[in-house]
Structure formats: C-alpha cells, structure tokens
C-alpha cells in the first residue's frame, strides 16, 4: 500500500510538470491552432535561467522571476519572428518551424550555458515529508501546487476577464473576433508570453528535483504534448487531467512493470486513446464540413 502511495506521489510530481507543459500547449493551440513543439524549451529555459541567475548570487525568488520574464519575452519573440510570418502554412510546415525553433533554442542554450547538468536548492529544504508510509519532497508539493494554481488562474482569466474572453473568441473565430474589434495580433502575443511563462514556471519548480540541462526540453514537450492530446487538444481541463494522468501512468509503469519502459507507457496509452476516442477525454468532436 505504501509502495503504491509512493508511486502515486512521484507520478503526481512529474505529472504536474507535464500538466504545466500541456496547459502551455493548450493556450497557444487555442489562440492559433499551432501545436508548439518548442514548449519543452520554455521549461528548460525556466530551469536553466533560474540556475544561472542564482549562481550569479541573486536570491532564488528574484532569479525565478527573471527566468520567467526572460522566457516570456523569448516566447513573444518566437511568435513575432517565426509564427506570425508563417500564418496559414500547412500543419507539416508549422511542425517543422516549431521543432526548428526548439533545436535553435537548445543550440543557443548549449552555447551560452554549456552542456552540464545543473540544479539549485529546493525552496523549502530537502527533508522528505512522511505521509501514510510513503515520503514526498516539499518541492514536489511546490510543483503540484504550481500546476493547480496555474490552472485555476487560467480558468479565472478565461471566464472572468474581458481579455481572457477575447482570447477564446479569437480561438473560436479569428475573423469574427477581428470584426468585433479584438486585436488578434495582441492576443497571439499574449498567448505566447503566457504559455512561455507557464512553461518556465514549471521548469523552475521542477529543476531542484529533476535537475536541468540544455537538452531536457524535448522530453517534457513530448510528454506534455501526450498529456494535452490525452485530455483533448484545446481543453485546459483536459490538459491538466491529461498531464497528471501521463505522470501517474509513467510512475506506475516504472514501479510495477519496468523502469526502462516508463516512457513507453505514456505513448502506448496515447495510441490507445487516439484509436478509441480520437478527440481525447475532453476534446470537442468535429464534423467535416462539406
């Protein structure tokens, strides 16, 4: 029993990071129909920049804020320089553009920060908490809380604020949104900033546990992507659930089946979900219009 609990704890921890990546995917996907494969790089940047700023002697909270702000700016730059000019390009092109961006960011990070693996101190110490015979790191609670807070904040933003509704309206029908006076270009910029910031937050929260290096992004991107698809593309609720589910499945596979195949589990589940309900758990059904 305590063993199961232990697996659940570790599943929830990584799941929270995947959920944050998936939420980032969802925001951009909703605003632009683009699946941003560089989402994982935002996570990587969040961890790496925090590490760097902290290593320069800045206090951790300030370092974290800087990391989030810089990553958000990079997200905006990516939108302006790479996504906006490619408006209307086919799906294959967009996949290649965002993967190109991902490789570019990785290369740049490697050049600036090197290839080493880095970490920084956990926010509330390394003393594990004992719950029901299992242990959980305080940092895990930070990560899980981070995912939940971001989700609630996003929910409030999308349902309670004018700006949030503008984003949803743009997602729904870009032309109509423009006609009623929504600045859709600003909405796109905002989405990338928000998405990058959320990714960076995830990376910053997770780095003390998972460690960070220039090449960790792609793994996060694929799992987060898997989570978003499992939940149903475009649904924030789906992203949160899907991310946590992928984390849990991974941890349970590692615990009970084979730690080598833990990454495989996520993709097997994805394949199954796609076969049996191609719209994911919470996705909307679409009908081809003729």
């Amino acid at each position: 029993m305590s063993e199961l609990l232990q697996f659940l704890f570790s599943g929830l921890t990584v799941g929270a990071v995947y959920a944050l990546v998936a939420l980032g995917f969802t925001i951009i996907y909703n605003a632009s129909d683009v699946v941003n494969f560089a989402q994982g790089e935002f996570v990587m940047l969040g961890g790496m920049i925090t590490w760097f700023a902290h290593a320069q002697g800045l206090p951790l909270p300030l370092a974290a804020l800087i990391a989030i702000a810089v990553t958000a700016l990079l997200g905006v730059a990516m939108n302006k320089l790479m996504i906006e000019p490619a408006r209307g390009a086919p799906v294959v092109s967009l996949i290649i553009i965002t993967i190109g961006a991902s490789i570019f960011i990785q290369g740049g990070t490697q050049l600036i920060f090197g290839k080493e693996i880095h970490s920084f101190p956990a926010f509330s110490g390394d003393e594990p908490l004992r719950i029901g015979g299992a242990t959980i790191l305080p940092q895990s609670l930070w990560v899980i809380a981070g995912a939940l807070v971001v989700y609630v904040a996003l929910w409030l933003f999308f349902t309670r604020t004018l700006l949030g509704r503008a984003v949803l309206a743009t997602a729904n029908n870009r032309l109509a949104a423009q006609l009623v006076g929504i600045n859709t270009s600003f909405v796109m910029t905002l989405s990338f900033a928000l998405s990058a910031a959320i990714g960076a937050l995830g990376g910053m929260l997770a780095a003390p546990i998972t460690l960070t290096a220039y090449n960790v992004g792609i793994g996060f991107a694929l799992k987060g992507f898997a989570g978003a698809m499992l939940g149903g593309m475009g649904s924030p609720k789906g992203a949160l659930t899907g991310g946590f589910l992928i984390g849990l499945i991974e941890a349970l596979t590692a615990g009970y089946v084979s730690s080598q195949y833990k990454d495989a589990a996520a993709f097997v589940v994805i394949l199954l979900v796609l076969f049996f309900m191609p719209q994911g758990l919470f996705g909307r059904k679409s009908t081809d219009r003729v």
Binding site: I96, G108, D263
Partner: protein, 318 residues
C-alpha cells in the same frame, strides 16, 4: 526534344551519381555521398507519404531502425545473408506499418503526427532496452554485405567508399524511379486526390483508408531499406537510427527541398547531409544553424527549395 519530369529527374540523378566523384578532393567524400544517397532513399519514401498522400509521420525512423537491426541481427541469429536481411527488414517494416497504420491513419494532422511519433519512440525504446539482443545504446556490429568482394572476383576493384557510394547511388535511382512511376499511375493519382480533398476522393470511389495504408507501407519500406544500407555501410549501428531526431530529420529534409517532388526532397536530403560537414568548423553553432535553416525555409520558401526555385525561374520567363 522535351523531357518528361520523370526522365529529367532520373537523368539529373544519374549524372549526379556518375559525375560528382570527379570533383572529390579525397576518398572521404565517397562516404558523404553514400550517406546523402541513403538519406535520399528515406526521403523519397516521405515524398510518397507526405507529398503525394498528404499524411504526416514523425516516427518513420522507427522503420529505419527495423531495417538497420535486421541487418545486424538476422545474419548472426538466423544465419541469413545480409542481402536477404535487407529484404527481411523491409518485409518486417511493411507488416508492422500495415498493422500500425490501419488504426493510426484514421487520424489527421497533429493527431497522426503524435501517433506516429509514439510508434517511433516505442521502436527506439525497444532497441535501447533489449540489451541482450541489441547491445543497447552502445550499438552493435553489422556484418559485411560481401558484395564488394564478389565484384572484386569479377575484376571490379572498388574501395569500400567507392563501392558504397555507387551501390547507394544506384539504389536511390531505383527508388526514385519507382516513386516517379507511382506519381502518374492510377494509384498515385488517387493518393494525390485524397491529399487534395478526402471527401471528394471518397465520392469518386477512392478507398481512402486502403490507399493511405498503401502509401504508409511503401514509405516504411523505403525507410527500412535506407536503415539497412546505413547499417551495412557503417558496419555498425546504434539505436539513434530509430530516434525521434532522425524522424524529424527525414521530414525536414523532404519539406526543405520540396516534399511534392522526388528531386526536391533529394535536394533537401543533400543540403541537410552536407550542412553538418560544412559546419564542422563551427561545430558549436551547428544546432543553431540547423534550427534556423528549418524555420527560415518554412517561412520564406513554403513549398520547399526546389519548387520555389522553379517558380522564380518561370516567373522571370513570363
């Protein structure tokens, strides 16, 4: 006389294979050339899948992995001749593509992308983890094809580099010929039709599911043969051949040069094969440059390099 696009493509390829060695400063370039041709074969498969039929795969390196490891394992474990191992790998890839493709190809766009991606990752994971069989991430030796020795007894004495250069070159021409045949054939027309509009293709009687599956299986065989040739010429292979990055590389090469045309895609394969060779001087910047090239080409030359060049020439002519 006016050449058909098919004849022109084959002529260009034949000249390329036959004449470029005269400009090689050293024997090393035969290796680079052979690598280019191997990538060209894989990419030609992508042309059939993505360029003709309009379907995305982010996991085709999985089939290259199967082709490569078939050549590494079948000779030692099954006592098969390496040449037959290529065929076995291709057959295995075809069967697997058929089984996986049936459910997967119902999906569209990003969903198809992630499903194929998942498939590729599973293959690469098996190759990495089944150490008893594959020797894991360290890689495994691959036996000699033996064809060069055979040619030598016939009086054709080639260096190892030269042999693989011409062998892969001829294989690429063969692969391109098949793909070009397909383009104008009834099957090719139906594939391009379902690319244009699935609904309309269905209403003229195209069994869309079946045709997508055919394209998927054919392109898997291309990827598998490319993997086999890569393994055999290096006499060594690691699971990276099946990795995510290799899948992405294949698609990028094809789209970079122009996924709608065989020659364009091979041009793309050429550029991405040569780029790292040129950039070895700036090894540190290699990744950044690669990423940047991918982005810039997709933004400024949407249909890929070759179609854009043709368009520019035609535009000036008119």
């Amino acid at each position: 006389m006016r050449l058909t696009p098919k004849a022109a493509t084959l002529l260009v390829l034949a000249l390329l294979v036959a004449l470029t060695p005269f400009f090689f400063p050293s024997g090393y370039y035969y290796r680079v050339g052979a690598l280019l041709f191997v990538n060209g074969i894989a990419v030609t498969g992508i042309v059939i899948l993505t360029g003709y039929a309009g379907q995305i795969s982010l996991g085709h390196a999985g089939f290259s992995g199967i082709g490569a490891y078939a050549c590494a394992l079948a000779p030692t474990h099954l006592g098969l001749h390496p040449a037959l191992a290529i065929v076995l790998g291709a057959a295995l890839s075809a069967v697997l593509a058929y089984l996986v493709g049936r459910p997967i190809l119902r999906l569209k766009g990003y969903y198809l992308g992630v499903a194929t991606l998942g498939f590729g990752i599973l293959v690469s994971m098996v190759l990495n983890n089944e150490r008893d069989l594959t020797n894991g991430p360290d890689g495994i030796d691959v036996p000699d094809l033996g064809l060069r020795a055979l040619l030598e007894t016939w009086g054709l004495d080639l260096t190892n580099g030269q042999f693989w250069y011409f062998f892969c070159g001829l294989s690429l021409i063969l692969g391109a010929w098949l793909a070009l045949n397909l383009y104008d054939s009834p099957t090719g027309r139906a594939l391009r039709a379902l690319h244009g509009s699935e609904v309309a293709a269905r209403t003229v009687g195209v069994d869309v599911a079946r045709l997508k599956l055919q394209a998927f299986v054919i392109s898997a065989v291309y990827a598998s043969v490319a993997g086999s040739l890569l393994a055999l010429q290096n006499k060594f292979i690691t699971p990276d051949v099946a990795g995510f990055m290799h899948s992405i590389e294949m698609v990028t090469m094809a789209v970079l040069g122009g996924v709608g045309s065989v020659l364009g895609a091979i041009l793309g394969a050429g550029i991405l094969t040569l780029l790292p060779q040129v950039l070895t001087v700036f090894a540190e910047y290699e990744q950044m440059v690669l990423g940047l090239v991918m982005v810039l080409v997709m933004i400024f030359l949407r249909e890929g390099l070759l179609p854009s060049i043709f368009k520019a020439i035609r535009g000036k002519g008119e």
